[in-house]
């Protein structure tokens, strides 16, 4: 499979409910900006598209844009809306509209975003909150791409992980000959997304050893990814626990924090406003 040319031609589908909410917003009101921000965050593909647009040569002019707020402000309300409409009109099919995909990819990604943000806050890395959320939301974009490239094969991957205690990357390699982390990293490079996002897409699970020193955001999102699965949002397998422990070491988490993340945080997810909002739309 020529992943590079597949990525070049890929069309990311925006969920109809998301597009509907977007089109219903009134672009004259100030509250619409906050609503727009919320809607964009509720859809992985929409967020990717907005970041990709803000990092295009035309809009970024060499400056990397890592936050969705900044990206939306840069593009403007109406450009975001026009872009979403145009991008959607070219989608060939709604490849992600089936329950297992929504459960293992959409919902898992939303929860990873919410948890990653919470980790950044708890670790007093407030400057990373927004990026942790966005990177958490997008970390599995490689799965979305594989599903668009060949939905039939992706369903085989879902079948395998339903039967065997293995991680996605192992099942994907078996079926596709590649995995979502490699595909995600290639897409990030092709779309000119910030380098950190590329690292996160490439390296957020399946660690054979402690990963080499990267930046905190990589560990925060990898840990968020693990916790989301552990909490029941996504596909969890035994090897994930090894990943989780490695991330706790890399983040140098005190015991009390580990306890909080593993025991208290799962209870709080369903109370999160954004989780509730996104859950209604997905």
């Amino acid at each position: 499979m020529d992943i590079d040319s597949e990525i070049k031609n890929i069309k990311l589908t925006i969920q109809p409910q998301i597009l509907g909410s977007l089109l219903n917003l009134n672009d004259q009101s100030n509250t619409s900006f906050a609503s727009l921000d919320k809607i964009v965050r509720a859809d992985q593909n929409m967020s990717t598209m907005i970041l990709k647009a803000a990092n295009s040569s035309f809009y970024s002019r060499g400056n990397q844009v890592t936050s969705l707020q900044h990206a939306i402000a840069m593009l403007g309300f109406r450009v975001v809306r026009s872009l979403a409409m145009a991008a959607n009109s070219k989608s060939l099919f709604e490849s992600g509209k089936y329950s297992r995909f929504q459960r293992y990819v959409w919902k898992h990604s939303t929860v990873t975003g919410v948890i990653s943000r919470e980790i950044a806050i708890r670790l007093h890395k407030n400057d990373l909150q927004e990026e942790a959320f966005v990177a958490g939301l997008l970390h599995d974009i490689g799965k979305v791409i594989l599903n668009i490239i060949d939905r039939r094969k992706f369903i085989q991957v879902l079948d395998i992980i339903g039967e065997e205690d293995i991680q996605f990357i192992e099942a994907e390699t078996r079926i596709f000959g590649t995995n979502h982390m490699i595909v995600g990293q290639k897409a990030a490079a092709h779309w000119k997304l910030p380098e950190t996002y590329g690292h996160i897409f490439e390296m957020h699970e399946g660690f054979d050893a402690l990963p080499e020193e990267k930046d905190d955001l990589v560990y925060i999102v990898s840990y968020g990814n693990y916790l989301a699965k552990k909490c029941g949002y996504g596909h969890y397998c035994t090897k994930d626990d090894e990943d989780g422990e490695k991330m706790e070491q890399m983040l140098k988490l005190p015991e009390a924090e580990v306890k909080y993340f593993r025991e208290v945080l799962p209870e709080k997810i369903e109370e999160d406003d954004f989780f509730k909002f996104a859950n209604k739309l997905i």
């Binding site: 890929i10 035309f58 403007g76 026009s82 872009l83």
Partner: protein, 242 residues
Amino acid sequence: MNESSDANDPISVWEKHFLVKPEEVAFDYHFFDLYSGDEKKLLAHLRETLTKLKRPDLSGPIYLIIRELLTNSLKAVYKKLYLEYFIQEMGLGDLSYEEWLMIFKTEIETHMADNFSNMCRDKDMFVECMIKLDIGDLVIEISNEGAPSDIEWKRLQESLARASEIKDMSYLFEEDTTADDYQEGAGIGVPMILMMLKNIRNNNLGDFNIKVDNGKTVARLNLPVAVFMDSNSENETQKVPT
């Protein structure tokens, strides 16, 4: 110098009748947008030139023509930039012209062409406006790098053909030209230009054309020396040294 030598050396007409050397009125402006101040400089320069040629009254109409051509040319440059550095990078290259034009228009309306102006400067892409005295003509050229797309070229040719048949202002009221989705403005720029030219040149449409030449799109307008001579025949010719 007598009249026959004028015919062999038409540039001397300008010197003989208006005491103006061609190099004194030639100017060349590069535009990245229409609000950086260069537009005012161009207007001042144009007025000064036409005053030297004893037709300051033409400043308004000719400026309006230049501005319309500049606007169209800048739009062409902006579209080229947007297509190359945004639409195609976004993987939306297979959108129809109409679809990506909608996003383009939204971008212009949202940011008042600021992004385009900056991008043009980064990429050194501009619209050139040149005015010079040529052999027997005042020549105005508005040009930009790149050729129009097939669809734009076809529409331009149709617009020129339709507009060349117009007789008077009533043409503008014959149909609603704003209802066309491809249209970005009122859709009457080219007819307005041709009508003004007819008036300036005493109903002689003369030489106005838009061509693609050496990878550039060039709108060229020639105003024959007669335009300036006729007007001065009663009150100015006597003052011209012979």
